[in-house]
């Protein structure tokens, strides 16, 4: 079964274009300098429309997760992580932790992780893997 993929909107297109090009793109407010995610063309902290897109470091730490034992058909049959990482720039992002066993022993809170991109055709998804793995 084909993976369920996002449908970009005009406000989020830069993010998905960035993933295609191997860049994790965030936005920040020019006026109050708040970094935020998911994308929108104004600052959710102060309401200013003066915002800019920038390339994030791709570094994060594992903030929290579950190991889903009833995978959705498009994600296979083995239990897998559904995680939230805390990006070094501040925002939180949902993802899967890949390139490591999907066990509580291997998935340790606060461990450093880094972005890795996987191409699914029209969309490239950002995943995270243990840093240096």
């Amino acid at each position: 079964m084909d993976r369920v993929l996002p449908e970009p909107t005009p406000e989020t297109q830069h993010f998905w274009d960035g993933c295609k090009e191997g860049e994790l793109r965030l936005q920040r407010c020019v006026e109050c300098s708040k970094s935020y995610f998911p994308p929108r063309p104004f600052c959710p902290k102060c309401g200013s429309r003066k915002v800019e897109v920038y390339k994030a470091s791709g570094k994060a730490k594992l903030w929290s997760y579950v190991i889903n034992h009833r995978p959705r058909p498009d994600l296979g049959t083995e239990p897998h992580s559904i995680a939230v990482v805390m990006l070094d720039e501040g925002p939180q992002m949902m993802t899967n932790i890949v390139d490591c066993p999907q066990t509580p022993e291997a998935l340790v809170l606060d461990m450093p992780v880094e972005v890795i991109f996987q191409d699914f055709g029209k969309i490239t998804l950002p995943f995270f893997k243990p840093a240096g793995a």
């Binding site: 993976r3 369920v4 005009p10 600052c43 903030w63 190991i67 034992h69 559904i82 995680a83 939230v84």
Partner: protein, 383 residues
């Protein structure tokens, strides 16, 4: 409605009009909202009430960065916004909020981001559809549970603490002939049950059952003319935070719970020690722990000990989820109705697991995955 007490001070449409292929539905709402705020010199942080149709008020408030004490999602078609104005006027008169934003946005021609979707798995162009659904969540069991490992670590709680919530609620359910699950369970039973989404086993997740409920309200003045013992409303609160659990501001505390609970306590003018009975919507075993802390019954880090010391169990000083809760009584999908039914039964004095002499009860509900909250404080004594 009190006439001549409420006014419109900001009003604006979207920047463009007619054909707008470069904006999705939610951005049309936001564009109009930002223009209306500019029209009257306000910022999102000045707004404390939201109303909208088509998208949920939760999505709207989150997207704009608003923390509301009033959220109206009445959706009855094209005239929804007149109803929003009317409800908002009443809410301002009643002190539920001071400054209420009402928005509309539809990509009727261009159909950009029109999928909508309130939960992950909804429209693939919605924010949850783009930034949560691709990672495989399958409804609440694999989403509502995501903050919990962080919460356990921050609070120094264990999975046994989580399991004990289910164990004690099963003790209450055993007293309730209408409860779906009545057999006693141990912490080991809970931990050894089928794993659903680590660290959550089946017995830490709510039931899936059928049922319904209804409530009829009238003025306190008229209430004494009816056959049943009246249950009065002392105070209320509500709030919304985010349609995306991944974007909760703090994984160890629900902002919607805190805002809703604080408002209800302020309105009621009561202290925590005045509360005889408490219902906290328990879609999963962690909800009562968050609820006890975010409503202020326990300090952060003390809720698990409070439950383990049997304060919320039969004979305890704060009986909690006395119908057995969503974990053992019933859960049809939107359980909040059943929490209020049990508060009303307790204050009428007719509950299967009756708390002797209960005078004040709180029904505290959650919506979505920590997305929204509502709190009602009830009393069987006329205010």
């Amino acid at each position: 409605m009190k006439p001549k007490t409420v006014a419109a001070v900001g009003a604006a449409e979207t920047t463009e009009m007619g054909r707008i292929p470069n904006m999705s539905v939610i951005q049309l709402h936001a564009d109009a909202a930002l223009n209306a705020m500019a029209d009257c010199g306000l910022k999102p942080s000045d707004i404390d009430g939201v109303a909208t149709a088509g998208i949920s008020p939760t999505e709207l408030a989150y997207y704009l960065g608003i923390t509301p004490t009033y959220a109206d999602g009445t959706s009855v078609g094209g005239c929804s916004f007149m109803l929003h104005v009317r409800h908002a006027a009443a809410a301002i008169n009643e002190g539920l909020a001071k400054t209420i934003l009402i928005t509309h946005g539809e990509s009727g021609r261009s159909r950009v981001g029109a999928g909508g979707g309130f939960r992950g798995g909804g429209g693939t162009s919605s924010l949850p559809g783009q930034f949560e659904a691709p990672y495989g969540p399958v409804g609440p069991p694999s989403m509502f549970t995501i903050p919990v490992l962080r919460y356990l670590k921050a609070r120094n709680y264990t999975v046994e603490d989580l399991a004990n919530v289910a164990v004690i609620q099963r003790e209450w359910a055993a007293l309730n002939p209408r409860a779906s699950m009545k057999d006693p369970i141990s912490i080991a039973d809970v931990l050894n049950a089928r794993m659903i989404a680590y660290p959550f086993t089946l017995l830490m997740c709510c039931l899936v059952t059928d049922g319904g409920g209804a409530i009829i309200l009238t003025s306190a003045e008229r209430a004494k003319d009816f056959p049943q013992k009246p249950v009065y409303i002392l105070g209320t609160g509500e709030s919304v935070e985010t349609p995306m659990v991944s974007q909760m501001e703090d994984f160890t505390s629900s902002k919607a719970f805190r805002v809703s609970g604080k408002k209800a306590f302020e309105e009621a003018g009561i202290r925590h020690g005045d509360v005889d009975h408490l219902m906290i919507y328990d879609a999963f075993a962690h909800l009562p722990l968050y609820g006890l802390e975010d409503l202020g019954f326990c300090k952060p880090g003390e809720a698990a000990g409070f439950i383990n010391d049997r304060n919320t169990a039969i004979g305890g000083k704060l009986p909690l989820n006395t119908n057995g809760g969503g974990l053992s009584y019933m859960h049809s999908g939107m359980y909040g109705m059943y929490a209020m039914q049990e508060s009303i039964r307790q204050l009428r004095g007719i509950a299967p697991a009756q708390v002797p002499g209960a005078r004040i009860s709180i029904s505290h509900g959650v919506g979505g995955m920590f997305g929204a909250s509502g709190t009602i404080i009830w009393s069987n004594e006329a205010p």
